[in-house]
């Protein structure tokens, strides 16, 4: 039993006194244990150091990979950049906007909005500004002073009947040597001097006869404009050269022809007068509502169909006549009052005074924003032709309620030069005429609401040896910044960036188009343009 307990080693302390020496193998084990613990600690420390190093290196590698990924993303975006360079020319552009705009109800100064209402007097407002009166006499028939509650005055599409397919036609009815100019036929409203020109060459005692004719359609039925309540005729003539010694008589007769009575073609004399001349200025004859041959004009406009207005010139010359005689007519119009519709019309103009002379202007670009509170008004945009003294139509659109943006680009060619539109004082006139019809008279108005300068702008493209202009477009999917421009020409290399004078730095969102101009003295010869982006791409033109 004892041996068993000893061998099992379970009761040493109980069997032997405390001073009993330990067995040799017990001390040896204790030394080994201490060494093992110490060695283990060292191994553990080495392992910790090693693992820490591995972790640290892994962190470094991760940082490097992240940097490479970041750089790869930047490189990808760089490869996605695409820049279009176009319309490079030596010159510049300059934008003009009115310094003052008018909103209905406030003071009109140059640029005006027109608020037209059905006032008790029946007088439609009009806006006359910044132009000679010839421009607006086409609308004299609107200036009724007598009360007109209903119906109100209604015009054909415009006072010169340009809506018909033929416009004015000209014909000679005599054998007198001469000619008729149709170059200015079919004129625009309010076209001023030269809108219609008849002339002949005198060969001695003879009779010269010429006709100018236009045709218009009218529907006075209930399905059209309704019965015609009133109609007025207006026109202007200008005969600069006339001498009683050379011309014994010059008679002008205006006829109204009803084509619906064919084959008889009932003809009424609207007016007839002798041209006294020479005229110092235009003579206006407006608001003619009664026929010279009796009755009213309105009473003859009863058929649905075509009518004609014929201007007949009959001149008797003498042997002392001059070589050529000119007769000018303008603003010939017939307005009428319908029972079913109301006409609302605005007419305003703005004169731009440019810094550039017509000799250097190469292109014009207008942007016009208007707003109307009438349904589907027809808006026409004109530019004044100073040489031919008439308005040229550049835009004719049916707009909608709310703001509409009209862009007009004027490219000059062999038939239209900058000198046509820009006079010696560098003036350019933009005119906007709007017409709307309504079927009731309650609270109708047509309003050209040009609320701020941003609503009207003109960009002038001009040639210059001190500037270069180009159009940049971002055709890629990422935003880009063009940070540097290098122009290489025979004179050397020219550098432009955000720190130079002039500065150059263009930010382009995807799809954005920017016209950029740099002041730079152009040197004749071949030039190369480098455009450098912030991502390091270089685009060459």
């Amino acid at each position: 039993m004892i041996e068993l307990r000893v061998h099992r080693g379970e009761s040493w302390r109980g069997l032997f006194p405390p001073e009993r020496p330990r067995r040799p193998f017990e001390a040896k084990h204790r030394r080994r244990a201490v060494s093992s613990v110490i060695g283990g600690l060292f191994v553990l420390a080495i392992m910790v150091a090693g693992i820490s190093t591995i972790l640290y290196i892994t962190t470094l590698q991760t940082g490097m990979i992240q940097a490479e990924n970041h750089a790869a993303v930047a490189d990808t975006q760089k490869n996605q950049e695409k820049l279009s360079i176009s319309q490079v020319f030596y010159g510049g552009t300059q934008s003009y906007t009115p310094t003052q705009a008018y909103v209905a109800g406030s003071t009109c100064n140059n640029l005006c909005g027109v608020n037209m209402t059905t006032a008790s007097s029946g007088r439609f407002g009009g806006t006359i500004m910044n132009q000679n009166n010839t421009l607006y006499h086409a609308y004299a028939p609107f200036n009724f002073t007598s009360p007109m509650n209903n119906p109100t005055l209604q015009a054909l599409s415009n006072s010169n009947f340009t809506s018909n397919t033929n416009g004015w036609t000209f014909a000679s009815t005599s054998s007198v040597s001469g000619d008729f100019s149709s170059s200015n036929g079919n004129p625009s409203p309010g076209s001023g001097v030269g809108s219609m020109e008849l002339y002949f060459t005198c060969v001695g005692t003879a009779t010269f006869k010429g006709n100018a004719t236009t045709r218009f359609y009218i529907n006075p039925s209930s399905g059209g404009v309704g019965p015609i309540a009133n109609s007025q005729f207006s026109w202007a003539e200008y005969v600069p050269v006339l001498n009683s010694r050379s011309i014994s008589s010059a008679t002008l007769t205006v006829y109204l022809v009803d084509e619906n009575t064919a084959p008889s073609f009932t003809t009424y004399t609207l007016t007839q007068l002798s041209l006294a001349g020479p005229d110092a200025s235009w003579k206006y004859r407006t608001a003619i509502s009664s026929l010279q041959s009796g009755g009213t004009i309105a009473s003859k406009l009863v058929h649905t169909g075509y009518y004609d207005i014929v201007i007949n010139l009959n001149v008797q010359t003498t042997s002392k006549c001059y070589s050529q005689y000119f007769f000018y007519f303008d603003d010939i119009g017939l307005n009428y009052l319908g029972n079913s519709y109301f006409l609302y019309q605005t007419d305003w103009a703005y004169t731009f005074v440019l810094a550039q002379a017509s000799s250097v202007v190469t292109q014009l670009s207008f942007s016009l924003t208007t707003a109307y509170n009438q349904t589907s008004p027809t808006q026409s945009v004109y530019l004044y032709d100073w040489l031919n003294k008439k308005y040229l139509l550049f835009s004719n659109v049916t707009t909608s309620v709310g703001a509409d943006v009209i862009s007009v680009n004027v490219n000059f060619n062999s038939t239209l030069a900058p000198q046509n539109l820009i006079n010696g004082a560098n003036e350019l006139v933009l005119r906007v005429q709007s017409v709307a019809y309504a079927t009731s008279s309650t609270v109708h108005r047509i309003e050209t609401d040009v609320q701020s300068s941003a609503y009207l702008s003109l960009t002038v493209w001009y040639s210059s040896s001190n500037a270069v202009t180009f159009t940049l477009q971002n055709q890629g999917p990422v935003q880009m910044e063009v940070v540097s421009l290098v122009i290489i020409d025979a004179g050397g290399h020219h550098y432009f960036n955000s720190t130079t004078t002039p500065a150059f730095d263009v930010v382009l969102y995807p799809g954005k188009v920017v016209v950029t101009q740099i002041q730079y003295s152009w040197v004749p010869g071949l030039s190369t343009f480098y455009f450098v982006t912030a991502r390091g791409n270089v685009f060459v033109d």
Partner: protein, 163 residues
Amino acid sequence: MRGNHRWVLPRRNGRSAISEIIGTLLIVLATVAIGTLLLLGSSSSLQTGTVLQQSQVSLATQQAQERLTIFDVWFHTVGGIPDLEVHALNYGSNLIHIVTIYTNQSGTVAPLASFTTAYPNGLTLSPGQQIEILAAFSYTPGTNYYVKLVSDSGSVFDGAWSA
């Protein structure tokens, strides 16, 4: 009891106890010494490796992020001296330190001494910065020259330009 006496170990004398202590101390000391040597050795090795790795990774990271474009080189005469005018843009996210320009001015690609003279400390470009490098350079009009910019991280930016 006889059996118990057989089992009782003889009591050790003083020498025996001292030897045991010394032996234990020696073993412990040896263990500590060897362990210390191993720890120091491995630590030094790890540190060396870490520093080396750190340097390599830093260099590689720098190179990976360095972006520079030479967008124009103009060979022209300034004040009667033919010059090389290099225009470059740093479009990366890191500073770039240009330390050398190599050209084939002499027929073989070699460092351009006039650059070192003009810029003894090299040139540093911040991210987004454009720089103009002007150095004397004898050129023959119409000849194509190889221009290589080298950064202190070893990045190379080069191209061929006609004088």
